[in-house]
């Protein structure tokens, strides 16, 4: 094992080729420029009707602009109106500008949300690990070339805005933990963000739980700030409940459930699917045939194939584009192959941070900011898939775990940074990941 390098005041980490803090900023900025170009361009080329449930969201957005919510029990009535209101106004602006498809401005909103989240990923990495420029740049790289992020950014869909708000809430949490600043100046914006997130996507309620756990752990493990942390926790939770309460009250009054009123099977949740649903990745089909029809009743491969490729035919093939061809099949297979290394590294980072959190719980509470969101996001998608199952696996989507991606990018960066301290490993891994990102670019360009 190589000796552990000590970061210099300028932020050099040594191992991975002495990447300085300045280079991390420049490199991250360059990556975000590429992300911006791709997502903004896609927002105007991808059909507004092309994304998941786009017709429902478009109708909803137009209704909100006209001053009312979705019709009773119709379309996306269970979705909070936050994104619909903003996208609807953007659509009005598009009409005023006489755009060919005014709703492209609703998609542009998502492109900007993704770009903003990319900046926050960099900010999160800087706040949590300020002397690790390699971690910063690799986290931004992972986020920017993660296909489900770029795909959803092109759609008329509420998830990217939900991701931006979640990332902002995590950023405030990270600041609180690092500065040990548990004052109302942080607690109020945190609570407002947690509440606003639920006005965009009710499923993002897990972020509130994450915030509660982190502030609770801070209060438990740091006696000197216990009172302040608990006060912040109370303020944040109060606002997180207060801000979306009109929406929840409306839904609870109009429907049987304030979040999602679809009927569920009465059997025990975990027994609704066979064991294979939870553990079987359906190899080799997950790589050789990563499209609909080959493993509809398996959680892991559908989530993976939809995240890295186009399992449901919403991007490269299907109604929004054209039928499948051998060339498209080959591209999807390539995407599945390209996803293996980054996924393995992100998973390794998650395991490592989780191990550190469990074995050295008092050492760094900030690690929880990276560990908890991906776990909570996967758990929420899993719950959705098990509680509301469909024959084609339609409730298993990488898109639904989008708010967990910024933290997953931090896990990836953490693993890459640690491995790259051995110069040879860093060069080989870095080259492989760079090549992989470049190879993914044509897929991301709609």
């Amino acid at each position: 094992m190589a000796a552990t390098p000590t970061p210099s005041a300028e932020g050099h980490t040594g191992g991975a080729g002495a990447v300085s803090a300045r280079w991390a900023v420049l490199g991250s900025a360059a990556i975000l420029v590429v992300l911006g170009v791709v997502t903004v361009r896609n927002a105007f080329t991808y059909p507004s009707l092309g994304g998941y449930d786009a017709q429902d969201y478009l109708t909803y957005a137009h209704d909100v602009v006209d001053g009312h919510l979705a019709a009773h029990g119709v379309g996306a009535y269970y979705t909070p109106p936050g994104y619909m209101a903003l996208a609807g106004v953007a659509g009005e602006l598009g009409e005023a500008l006489d755009l060919r498809d005014p709703d492209h401005l609703g998609q542009l909103l998502n492109a900007l949300a993704v770009l903003g989240t990319g900046v926050l990923v960099f900010g999160l990495a800087r706040v949590l690990w300020p002397t690790r420029p390699v971690l910063c740049i690799s986290a931004v790289g992972f986020f920017s070339f993660y296909p489900t992020v770029v795909k959803t950014a092109a759609m008329f869909h509420p998830e990217p805005l939900g991701m931006l708000i979640t990332a902002a809430a995590l950023y405030v949490l990270a600041q609180m933990v690092r500065r040990r600043g548990y004052s109302w100046r942080f607690a109020v914006p945190l609570g407002l963000l947690l509440g606003a997130g639920q006005l965009v996507r009710a499923w993002s309620i897990w972020v509130v739980v994450v915030a509660v756990v982190i502030l609770g752990v801070a209060a438990y493990s740091e006696p000197t700030v216990r009172r302040a942390a608990l006060r912040s926790l109370a303020i944040a939770v109060a606002l997180a409940v207060l801000v979306p309460s009109p929406w929840y009250v409306h839904q609870a009054t109009a429907y049987s459930n304030p979040v999602f009123d679809r009927p569920q099977s009465p059997s025990f949740l975990l027994l609704r699917r066979p064991l294979a649903f939870y553990v079987d990745a359906h190899f080799p089909d997950v790589v050789s045939h990563p499209w609909e029809g080959h493993f509809n009743d398996r959680f892991l491969p559908v989530l993976y194939a939809e995240t890295w490729g186009d399992y449901f035919g919403i991007w490269r093939w299907g109604p929004s584009r054209r039928g499948q061809t051998d060339a498209i099949d080959a591209e999807l297979v390539r995407q599945s192959e390209l996803g293996l290394l980054p996924t393995a590294l992100a998973f390794a980072g998650l395991v490592a941070l989780l191990g550190l959190v469990v074995t050295r719980p008092r050492e760094d509470i900030g690690r929880l900011v990276a560990v908890l969101p991906p776990l909570a996001a996967v758990a929420s998608v899993l719950y959705l898939a098990v509680a509301y199952q469909t024959p084609d696996g339609d409730t298993i989507k990488g898109t639904y775990m989008l708010p967990g991606v910024p933290a997953l990018a931090l896990c990836f960066g953490f693993a890459f940074d640690a491995l790259a301290r051995r110069r040879a490993v860093g060069i080989v891994l870095g080259a492989a990941l760079l090549a992989s990102a470049l190879a993914t670019l044509p897929f991301l360009w709609w």
Binding site: M1, T4, P5, T6, P7, T13, W129, P130, T131, R132, R178, R179, D280, A281, H282, F283, P284, D285, H289, W291, G293, G323, Q324, T325, D326, D329, L340, A344, L345, F347, A348, G349, L350, V351, A352, L353, G355, L356, T359, R360, E363, D364, G366, F414, A415, D417, A418, L419, R421
Partner: protein
């Protein structure tokens, strides 16, 4: 603010290596399990999937004889009768293979047959005895859905 936890330490690297080990182990388990499943419960061939669909819909079928073009298809071929119209269903191994089969049929068939009775859906070629109706076409299309991709 810089605290000691920001410094790279051995525990962090050890845990990352553990993480890499866990990721690789899971990958190996999935690969081994996948290939074992394939060996123990082999997937039906594309031809068998088409045959199963026809059996489920009580539609008799037969092997193709005396048709070297159909018999040259990488995934096989069969003859059946869909709602009274006989059809040769030829399963190409790729779009290129299906294009070759289509071209071979087109070379020996009359222009009218090519126009009205010869069809290709991705990797599957249909040669009908008479111009098919929409319903006959739909039936053949749906029963060969797996083989088309």
């Amino acid at each position: 603010m810089t605290s000691s936890v920001e410094l790279p330490d051995h525990a962090e690297r050890r845990w990352v290596i553990v993480g890499v080990g866990v990721a690789l182990s899971l990958l190996v388990v999935q690969v081994v399990a996948g290939y074992t499943r394939q060996a123990v419960f082999p997937e039906p061939s594309f031809l068998q999937k088409v045959e199963r669909c026809l059996v489920e819909r009580k539609t008799p079928f037969a092997q193709v004889t005396g048709d070297p073009i159909a018999q040259s298809a990488q995934r096989g071929a069969l003859r059946t009768r869909v709602q009274g119209d006989a059809v040769t269903v030829v399963l190409g191994g790729s779009e290129k293979d299906a294009e070759r089969i289509y071209a071979d049929y087109a070379d020996v068939a009359t222009p009218a047959v090519v126009r009205t009775q010869l069809e290709r859906h991705r990797k599957v070629v249909f040669l009908w005895s008479f111009a098919p109706s929409a319903s006959q076409r739909q039936f053949a299309y749906l029963c060969t859905l797996d083989a088309q991709g």
